[in-house]
């Protein structure tokens, strides 16, 4: 029996006007798998991530999440752009964590976490608050629920942001350089939360520069450069024994 992949990208292309950012990305992520994407800045890692939850629209190729085409509906052999409401519905099941946290500054930590489940999923407030408290406890911030983001450290903010994404019960989590904006001593606490998430069986795609994390947690690693996948495989192999010159050059700088 073959399992349906959680994410299936087939020759995904994305351009911004004349600038071609993704030039045919093909890859698969199985359920409960962790994929780490590494590569120099400007290589299209973040853009690819943003295509998966349709924050960016794919120009060519096909992208499926859990077997469903992202951003378009196929009817009568033609692709139709999705109505905003349908696109929003697709995004609900995909959690996203940003480099700069993007917490809502006018809401407390708890309010940040309960906002979407109440407003988007229309769940009952009492239930949502109860599960939100459990989530904040899980990321180690139970006592910070009444605190506003501006009063939290970067690491704490990012952990609230992870809890906020988890509150929607996503089947897939996307992390866009989640530790790149953090002080070195705060990186660990965020990676710990992500590691636990991976152990619990969450399907994750992580754009990161943390090679140690990738080696330890990822099932699959992809090295991207100028919009193409240069090399992919188990992280230990890619890191220890890169085949392509470009990968070797990059890894020699970051390791």
């Amino acid at each position: 029996m073959t399992q349906l992949p959680m994410v299936r990208a087939e020759a995904v292309c994305k351009d911004f006007g004349a600038l071609q950012v993704l030039k045919g990305i093909t890859l698969q992520v199985q359920p409960r798998e962790v994929l780490c994407i590494v590569g120099p800045s400007g290589s299209g890692k973040s853009t690819f991530l943003r295509c998966i939850n349709h924050l960016e629209q794919v120009n060519a190729g096909r992208l499926y999440v859990d077997g469903v085409l992202v951003g378009y509906a196929e009817r009568g052999g033609k692709l139709h752009e999705l109505q905003p409401r349908e696109a929003a519905k697709q995004r609900r099941d995909i959690g996203m964590v940003f480099q700069h946290f993007n917490l809502f500054p006018h809401m407390t930590a708890l309010e940040n976490v309960i906002e979407a489940p109440i407003r988007v999923k229309r769940r009952h407030k009492d239930d949502v608050v109860e599960s939100a408290r459990k989530l904040l406890d899980r990321v180690g911030l139970a006592e910070k629920e009444k605190t506003y983001p501006a009063q939290l450290s970067g690491g704490q903010q990012q952990r609230v942001a992870i809890a906020r994404a988890l509150a929607m019960d996503p089947k897939l989590m996307l992390f866009d350089e989640p530790t790149s904006a953090l002080d070195p001593e705060l990186v660990g606490e965020v990676l710990d939360v992500m590691r636990q998430l991976a152990v619990d069986g969450m399907t994750m795609i992580v754009v990161t520069h943390e090679m140690g994390f990738a080696r330890e947690v990822a099932d699959q690693m992809v090295f991207m450069d100028s919009g193409v996948v240069v090399e992919s495989g188990p992280p230990r192999e890619v890191l220890a024994n890169p085949q392509k010159e470009r990968t070797k050059a990059f890894l020699s700088k970051v390791l």
Partner: protein
């Protein structure tokens, strides 16, 4: 080669008790200002041309307080129109549709580019430009037919005239507010599956309010005083025209101007208090500084920890 040494904690230092610096010029400056102020008050109180008896007699005159109420209502409705239309215009200017963008721009160009007094005169002439008003499908069917020359619509036109002018300014204020919210905010909301309107309502506008409210408060206060121009429509039951009518009969303009100024000042003061509380409400979460209550809780937690460590 040097070896690492552990640093001994320094003994607590004694608190500094220094002789404070004297500031004689501050005292002299304050004395001069206070003396000038006292002189002015004395002069105003003893100058018979101020007619303080007339001031006292008319300060709480029924006609004046009714006129103040009319002025407040005019301010309220003009601002309601201005804010509502201003939000629509701001969203039009930020929309990707070039026709909507240009329409909003032309509106702003005309209404900010001509004096509000002139606009009010135009609204006064509206009935001679368009004597009949009909609602229906153009060239097909009319549901309602109004002969607006028979309506006494001075208040209505005054509010419309002030409101449409205000909308042009509010549009810029709202646009600045919306643009001040980082893009990451609407992105995060979108990624959580929120629709555009919910993102606006729950995430963007509450944060934009911090930028929008202070200049809007200015606009309300400015509007309160701009209502004195509605005589151009002509609407005559507002505060300024009413005091002018009374002053004309008495031949005493000064005390009645003082009466009107007192009312304007009183209403403005009340509005400023309202603005303070609104600003405080929308400043939630904007400061890293902890509130007094949070600081107390933190100090308590720290003492508890130290106490626990000591007991161990």
């Amino acid at each position: 080669m040097t070896t690492l040494k552990t640093v001994e904690p320094a003994p607590p230092a004694e608190a500094i008790k220094a002789v404070p610096l004297r500031h004689p010029w501050r005292w002299i400056g304050a004395a001069i200002v206070l003396a000038l102020f006292a002189l002015f008050i004395y002069g105003a109180a003893t100058n018979p041309n101020y007619h303080w008896d007339t001031y006292r007699a008319y300060l709480f005159d029924k006609r004046i307080s009714t006129a103040a109420w009319n002025t407040l209502q005019l301010t309220f409705w003009a601002m309601v129109i201005g804010v509502a239309l201003g939000i629509v215009l701001a969203i039009m200017r930020l929309s990707p549709n070039p026709v909507l963008q240009s329409a909003a721009w032309v509106y702003l160009w005309i209404f900010r580019g001509t004096p509000v007094y002139v606009q009010l005169v135009f609204w006064g002439l509206f009935t001679s430009l368009y004597p009949h008003l009909a609602f229906g499908i153009p060239f097909v069917h009319q549901f309602v037919h109004l002969n607006i020359q028979t309506l006494n619509a001075a208040f209505f036109f005054a509010a419309i005239g002030l409101g449409l002018n205000e909308a042009a300014y509010m549009a810029e204020i709202v646009r600045a507010g919306i643009s001040s919210v980082p893009e990451g905010q609407s992105e995060a909301a979108t990624a959580l599956g929120m629709s555009w309107s919910m993102t606006m309502r729950r995430i963007v506008l509450p944060q934009a309010m911090r930028v929008i409210i202070p200049p809007t408060g200015n606009e309300v206060i400015s509007m309160l005083k701009t209502t004195s121009l509605v005589t151009a429509v002509p609407y005559t039951l507002d505060l300024y025209e009413t005091q002018r009518g009374i002053a004309g009969v008495l031949y005493r303009p000064v005390p009645l101007l003082l009466v009107a100024s007192t009312w304007y000042l009183a209403i403005t003061s009340v509005l400023m208090v309202g603005q303070y509380f609104l600003e405080r409400h929308f400043a939630r979460g904007s400061s890293r500084r902890l509130t007094a209550r949070q600081l107390r809780a933190l100090a308590r937690a720290e003492t508890r920890q130290q106490g626990g460590a000591g007991a161990r």
